[in-house]
Symmetry: C2
Subunit: 269 residues, 2 copies
């Protein structure tokens, strides 16, 4: 070691390193399993003219729309949850919708950006799934290597301005002896969907066929297991696309924004 | 009983009955102790031009600004927390501010209402104080029949648009053996300020003289007690008035809006 050696630069957080890799175009895959312990977020980007109504929709429906951060028009940096990040480039893949129809999937939306776009980062299920796993509760869709099954329910969201529509839920089959524990451990994370919306009979929330989810993949429900339903982050996307906004940008399914915040930062107790 | 007797009308909720009394001009006092078990709310009313920024300020500062409901421009009914109520008449007393200066206190603001006003109802400390009392933790300011002491701190809120400023906190002296329990029981209520912001040394959060609160009344801190600080709902009012909005309406201190929601509805676990 020589006298002129400078101290090493402060190590970047694991999420920042991964975002750098994604920004450089070196990773475009799914983000599940990356940066364990850090909160990942769904993205919804809308023009400013729709931003108040969408913000209010999220405030009125915190279970399906747990808002982690809003990046105002004119900024592209989620300064509270991921300082230094660029919302236009740091997600592996984006989808662009015009008037409600998808026009393409892109690894960067920098070329499509406009100064009037407001970005909404919403909590996702990865945080509470980690809590379930830590509590020894099995996650069937992970064991099967498939997507979690998601269903459109008959539960109406609280409308706000132009936004309204049914709640979408995800379902995990839980062994009956662990259902109470599943409620307890997910209740600690109200900012990432929190406690279940419903336990048991799918018909009670308007699900006609548990084996035919509207999104994701069907999973086996074994004897002695109860289907447990959580509010799903697909809800705000579905509701927003419902009103056919002139422009909307989202993350591509399974390819989330990785924040610098830890799951534990959002635990209430 | 005769055959033509109609069934009695469905009993109105206790909060609805009290709101009726207030609306009729028959009660203009403080609301502490009324409708125990029901959530009371702070009110902040602003013109629509400031509403997105204020909503975003609340989203970014949930501890001092726990938003219970937003009533959009053109409506005066908090349909989610108090269906049938009228935000212009159902609070015992209001304050009206123009360009940041109070112009008067009124028992109704119906004559001052405008179609572009957006109403924000924010959680207050009554809910978590009930939880503290139920846990056997003494509340000095209640014993003394005074207001809780409140202090301007050096903790910056997260700014949003035109809104920024320091966090205001309330302080309760807690016997040392009960400090942990105080954290636990208030953590269950993140929508009504939740867990403490700070425990112990007032100077650590920029409070120079614990005996000289900026708002409310000083209280005695006895040997063996620790000052415990919670984010306070005065914060959003102070921050909003800071930018001298052309019009702002609030509740008068201690005279809150009584909702139909129970404290328990907001407990996370």
């Amino acid at each position: 070691m020589v006298a002129t050696t400078l101290p090493p630069p402060a190590p970047r957080t694991v999420p920042a390193q991964i975002r750098d890799t994604i920004r450089a175009g070196e990773y475009a895959g799914v983000t599940a399993g990356l940066a364990n312990g850090y909160v990942q977020a769904n993205l919804a980007v809308l023009p400013r003219a729709l931003a108040f109504d969408f913000l209010l929709f999220c405030q009125r429906n915190p279970r399906p729309c747990p808002l982690l951060e809003v990046v105002e028009a004119g900024s592209v940096e989620p300064a509270l949850t991921a300082p230094g990040a660029d919302i236009r480039t740091d997600i592996p893949a984006y989808r662009i919708y015009e008037n409600g129809a998808m026009v393409g999937e892109f690894t960067s939306v920098a070329d499509h950006w406009r100064d009037d776009l407001v970005s909404f980062l919403l909590g996702c299920s990865f945080s509470f799934e980690a809590a379930l796993s830590d509590a020894g509760i099995p996650l069937r869709h992970q064991e099967a290597g498939s997507n979690v099954p998601m269903y459109i329910t008959n539960i109406a969201t609280n409308p706000a301005g132009v936004f309204s529509g049914p709640m979408v839920v995800s379902m995990r089959p839980i062994p009956q002896a662990q259902v109470v524990r599943a409620v307890q451990v997910t209740s600690r994370f109200p900012d990432t969907h929190g406690a279940p919306i419903h336990i048991g009979d799918p018909a009670a929330i308007g699900i006609r066929d548990i084996h035919a989810p509207e999104f994701g993949d069907a999973v086996e429900i074994r004897p002695g297991e109860t289907p447990v339903f959580w509010a799903c982050g697909v809800t705000p996307q579905a509701v927003a696309l419902n009103c056919k906004p002139p422009l909307m940008i989202t993350h591509a399914p399974g390819k989330m924004f990785i924040t610098d915040r830890r799951d534990a930062d959002y635990a209430v107790l």
